[in-house]
């Protein structure tokens, strides 16, 4: 600042030491760099002395540089405000003091040199470190020049604050040092890296070779030699045509030229090594050229033979999958985020009734424009899979082409190598037929269940006793609900004594009906008949069984058996009664004759010895007759014909039905059809005996069965009508009838035309009817059949 060519005048600020001001006559400047004395000062403004003084004082006081004036001893005589402000010393501690007071001891030497130089009449600049009033230090660039004033020599100095400059200079120096250090480090590291690269190259799995522009191998790592089936060190120095052969070599030379020109940086190559393909993935660069050396290229090659094979396999696999996809009956589609079709297999294209080119690359919106709701639904699904990355299974029901269509789809994300979802795929299947089939199956199942539920028999499906399903009847049978039964072990419902047998049945798939006792929920024991067979259901070997509650049937059978036994007993009694009656009758007749004749003879015996002897004899005979009579009475009473309770109200048809049931087996054997005419149902109830009615029916129906010819079909028709005062039943058969010669005798006791028969059946019937006021008669048609007509009064007489 003070060192430029601007003229300066140092005024006396407050009059203190103003003698110096008054002594200032002219100012001489010397350029700092020239080091020469300044030219003579002139008064360009043509001012008077006082005015000049005032002018210069103003300039100096307001200068922005620090300006000082030193006397001959080096003491400060003047300092302008900026100077004082810069060095941060008060004026009174500056003026009159030697300049060294304000110089850092490290810069004494420079300061003294400059002082000597100034004393010698030279101007110049130097740097020093000033000690400031606040204790801090500051770098200053000092300019100095001698002042040629009258009578004395003064020296002016000005300074520039170069603290920042110094700092920058220091930083620059540090930076240079750091750069140098870094440069050294870089060289070191480069060297290290070079070594490491070399090691890497030497140990690398990939191939590294350096070739010069003429195709000579400059460097090759062991991997390269291994790949080319060469021993270590055999590659370097050899020409590529020598290694690759005359066919492959020239092509590679051309490639080297392209690498050198930067046209190729990456390529794949196929070499034949020992006749086997070797795929290489090669990255290549031209190497920096050093003066006087040939240009070189560096090639890094990875053996991608396996990956190539894998890729080929993948391509084949992809092709295979594509073929599979295309031949799939399911529609397979892939969309990107914009719902654009990336792929659609043949089924999908066909389903959409378009060409492949009309689908792939086109938006889903085009395909589903006809149904905006459906389109929105699918777009939402695709968006969701993109967002969640989760597969989604959906079902749709659409109405088109005048029918309902059902479909099932699975949407799934497709991810790239970074595991990012780049597309969403869907497998769409039209399951309308399936649904219809399922619906039909469900309906069929429902019908089956309805049928099963409507069945009178319980039906159960079980897996070694564990109930898989059952119908309502079975549930009712055991007293549990169907839901309670499913999953339960059915064997637990069987009476403990029967479980072993039941287990055996399950084990051996016993095919025939078998009986067991079943314990109901309420503890009641029912007798049931099982009839099972194995079935396969959903791949499981199960067993289905019908379960019939035969408790009532057993009861009825038991009652029937008891009734039959009772009937047989009754029959026996009636036979015996009938026989005893017959015997009694047959004996009574001669006894009557003897009794009457002897009694009459007794009347004629006189009172002579002879007469008394005859009387005695007759009386003796009469006692024997009485004895015989008593015996007959006892005999008759013992075998008296059983009587019936004839005060029951009976329905005829059920009785006949019951008898028919008891004869069914026998009738089937001789091809006899026992027909109960509907008229039987219209007959009124009778006050009669159930057993007697049954006895009559048994005898008459049994007679027809006995008379039947087993070699031809036979028929017995039982009908009824209301007659006068009673009911008339007709038992008409076509079993050949009765021989006319014996027609009158068939009601006689012990008369029979059958071997092994007592001939008392019709006698019994006759006696029953005789006892109740009824009757029986025969309408016979020899050779064709006979008809017994039984009349029973409404009430027993």
């Amino acid at each position: 600042m003070g060192s430029d060519s601007r003229p300066e005048q140092v005024p006396d600020e407050d009059g203190c030491r103003n003698e110096s001001s008054s002594e200032m006559q002219s100012i001489h400047f010397k350029s700092p760099d020239a080091g020469q004395a300044s030219p003579e000062f002139t008064d360009p403004l043509n001012l008077g002395m006082a005015e000049q003084l005032h002018y210069f004082r103003g300039l100096v006081e307001s200068a922005t540089d620090g300006l000082f004036v030193l006397d001959e001893q080096g003491r400060f005589e003047y300092a302008n405000p900026m100077g004082l402000d810069t060095i941060k010393w008060p004026k009174d501690e500056v003026l009159g003091y030697h300049f060294l007071k304000f110089v850092s001891p490290d810069y004494y030497l420079q300061a003294m040199k400059a002082w000597q130089d100034a004393v010698a009449g030279n101007s110049g600049t130097f740097e020093l470190e000033a000690l400031q009033g606040d204790g801090s230090k500051q770098h200053l660039l000092i300019g100095y020049c001698p002042l040629k004033l009258s009578g004395s020599r003064k020296y002016s100095i000005n300074f520039l604050d170069i603290g920042s400059l110094k700092s920058l200079e220091h930083q620059l120096r540090c930076s240079q040092e750091q750069v140098n250090s870094l440069y050294q480090q870089q060289n070191y590291y480069l060297h290290q890296i070079e070594r490491q690269y070399y090691k890497l190259l030497e140990n690398a799995g990939y191939i590294a070779v350096i070739l010069d522009e003429e195709g000579v191998y400059v460097y090759s790592n062991p991997a390269a030699e291994r790949c080319l089936k060469l021993e270590q060190g055999q590659l370097a120095g050899r020409h590529i045509c020598e290694i690759m052969g005359p066919e492959q070599g020239p092509q590679r030379l051309a490639i080297i030229q392209d690498i050198l020109t930067g046209n190729i940086t990456h390529f794949e190559d196929l070499l034949l090594v020992d006749g086997k393909p070797l795929y290489l993935d090669i990255h290549c660069w031209p190497l920096p050229v050093e003066d006087g050396q040939k240009r070189k290229v560096l090639l890094f090659a990875a053996d991608i033979t396996e990956s190539k094979k894998t890729q080929e396999a993948l391509c084949q696999s992809e092709e295979l999958f594509r073929t599979i996809f295309d031949s799939s009956k399911d529609c397979i589609m892939i969309w990107d985020r914009d719902y654009r079709f990336l792929y659609a297999n043949t089924s999908a294209v066909t389903f959409m009734r378009r060409q492949q080119s009309q689908v792939v690359g086109h938006s889903l919106e085009e395909m589903l424009a006809w149904n905006p709701d459906y389109l929105a639904q699918w777009k939402g699904r695709i968006d969701q899979v993109f967002q969640t990355g989760q597969s989604e299974r959906v079902e749709d029901k659409l109405f088109y082409e005048e029918t309902e269509h059902y479909s099932e789809s699975v949407l799934f994300p497709l991810r790239n190598g970074h595991n990012d979802i780049f597309a969403v795929g869907a497998v769409y299947r039209d399951v309308t037929d399936n649904r219809r089939a399922v619906k039909a199956l469900a309906e069929s199942e429902h019908r089956f269940h309805s049928l099963a539920d409507a069945a009178f028999e319980g039906i159960i499906i079980h897996d070694h006793g564990i109930i898989v399903d059952c119908n309502r009847r079975y549930a009712e049978l055991v007293g549990y609900s169907r839901e309670e039964l499913i999953g339960r072990n059915g064997l637990n419902l069987i009476h403990p004594d029967d479980r072993k047998n039941m287990h055996g049945v399950h084990q051996h798939d016993y095919p025939h009906p078998y009986m067991s006792r079943m314990i109901r929920r309420d503890g009641e024991i029912r007798t049931v008949e099982h009839h099972g067979r194995p079935v396969v259901w959903e791949g499981r070997q199960l067993r289905v069984a019908s379960v019939r509650d035969i408790t009532e049937r057993q009861k009825i059978e038991q009652e029937l058996t008891e009734t039959r036994q009772r009937l047989q007993e009754l029959h026996r009694q009636m036979y015996m009664g009938s026989m005893s009656a017959f015997l009694a009758h047959e004996l009574n007749q001669p006894l009557t004759v003897m009794e009457l004749t002897l009694s009459e003879s007794l009347q004629h015996c006189d009172d002579t010895d002879n007469g008394r002897a005859i009387r005695k004899t007759i009386e003796n005979n009469l006692r024997q007759i009485q004895r015989a009579t008593d015996t007959i009475h006892k005999f008759r009473r013992f075998f008296k014909m059983a009587s019936f309770d004839t005060e029951q109200i009976i329905s005829i048809e059920p009785v006949i039905q019951r008898v028919k049931m008891s004869l069914m087996d026998l009738a089937a054997q001789i091809q006899m059809d026992i027909v109960l005419d509907p008229s039987l149902k219209d007959l009124p109830d009778l006050i009669f005996s159930d057993l007697a009615m049954e006895q009559i029916c048994v005898v008459l129906m049994q007679n027809a069965v006995d008379a039947a010819d087993p070699n031809k079909p036979n028929r017995l028709v039982i009908s009824g009508r209301v007659a006068e005062h009673g009911v008339e039943l007709s038992f008409a058969d076509d079993c050949g009838g009765v021989d006319c010669g014996v027609c009158d005798r068939i009601f006689e006791p012990f008369f029979t035309t059958k071997s092994g028969s007592l001939g008392l059946g019709l006698e019994i019937v006759r006696r029953i009817l005789l006892a109740c006021g009824g009757s029986i008669r025969l309408v016979n048609e020899q050779g064709k059949g006979c008809c017994f007509i039984v009349r029973i009064p409404f009430t027993v007489q």
């Binding site: 009656a581 009694a584 009758h585 009574n588 007749q589 001669p590 006894l591 009557t592 004759v593 003897m594 009794e595 009457l596 004749t597 009694s599 009459e600 009347q603 007759i625 009579t629 007959i632 009475h633 008759r636 009473r637 008296k640 009587s643 309770d645 005060e647 009158d744 006689e748 005789l770 006892a771 006021g773 007489q797």
Partner: protein, 202 residues
């Protein structure tokens, strides 16, 4: 004068020896006896000639005694008919009396009993004891409730065992009641008892 003078008796039985024996007994007492082997012959005879008494066996091959009785009852309502039956056939006896049989005779016939009943049926003897009234205005006379119940079942033709089973009593108890009933109505057998009962209703 023999008790059977001027009395005509028809006797029907399919056994000739029995017919002869009965005819001999009755003839010895002065009865004019006509014997028939079956009911149809008897009916034919009765259409032509009067008769004071008809005795018929029940058990006959072609037309049994019950049938004959019912037919005779239609044609000759006043002709007394004695049925000859086997041992203790109570239901038949009950039914026969309901149809209109005058009395019963049990085989083998005894001379005295035969003559007694024939004489009783053919003679309007004022000395003949009137039938003991069993029922008066629908009420059994002199019978306890238990006896009445037993009596009613006897009339239904039930045996003592059946009555005992029905009433839940022992056979012995029923037999005791039965004996009391017999004693009260001077009957020695059920047929007679039933006969008296129906006679009291007429």
């Amino acid at each position: 004068m023999k008790p059977g003078e001027n009395k005509r008796v028809c006797f029907v039985d399919d056994e000739a020896d029995v017919r002869d024996a009965v005819a001999m007994i009755l003839s010895s007492q002065g009865y004019a006896v006509r014997s028939f082997a079956d009911g149809q012959e008897c009916l034919t005879h009765l259409e032509q000639q009067d008769c004071d008494l008809l005795i018929t066996d029940i058990r006959m091959p072609s037309m049994d005694g019950m049938m004959l009785l019912s037919l005779v009852r239609q044609r000759c309502p006043d002709l007394p008919v004695i049925l000859v039956t086997g041992v203790g056939d109570i239901p038949m006896a009950v039914r026969a009396i309901k149809i209109g049989a005058a009395d019963f005779l049990e085989k083998p016939l005894r001379r005295d009993e035969l003559l007694h009943k024939v004489r009783k049926m053919t003679t309007n003897d004022p000395e003949e004891p009137k039938p003991i009234p069993i029922i008066h205005r629908g009420i059994f006379v002199d019978l306890t409730d238990s006896e009445w119940e037993v009596m009613w079942m006897i009339l239904q033709g039930k045996s003592s065992k059946e009555i005992a089973d029905f009433q839940g009593r022992s056979v012995r108890t029923v037999e005791v009641h039965r004996a009391h009933i017999m004693k009260k109505y001077h009957s020695d057998n059920i047929v007679d008892l039933v006969n008296k009962y129906w006679s009291s209703l007429r």
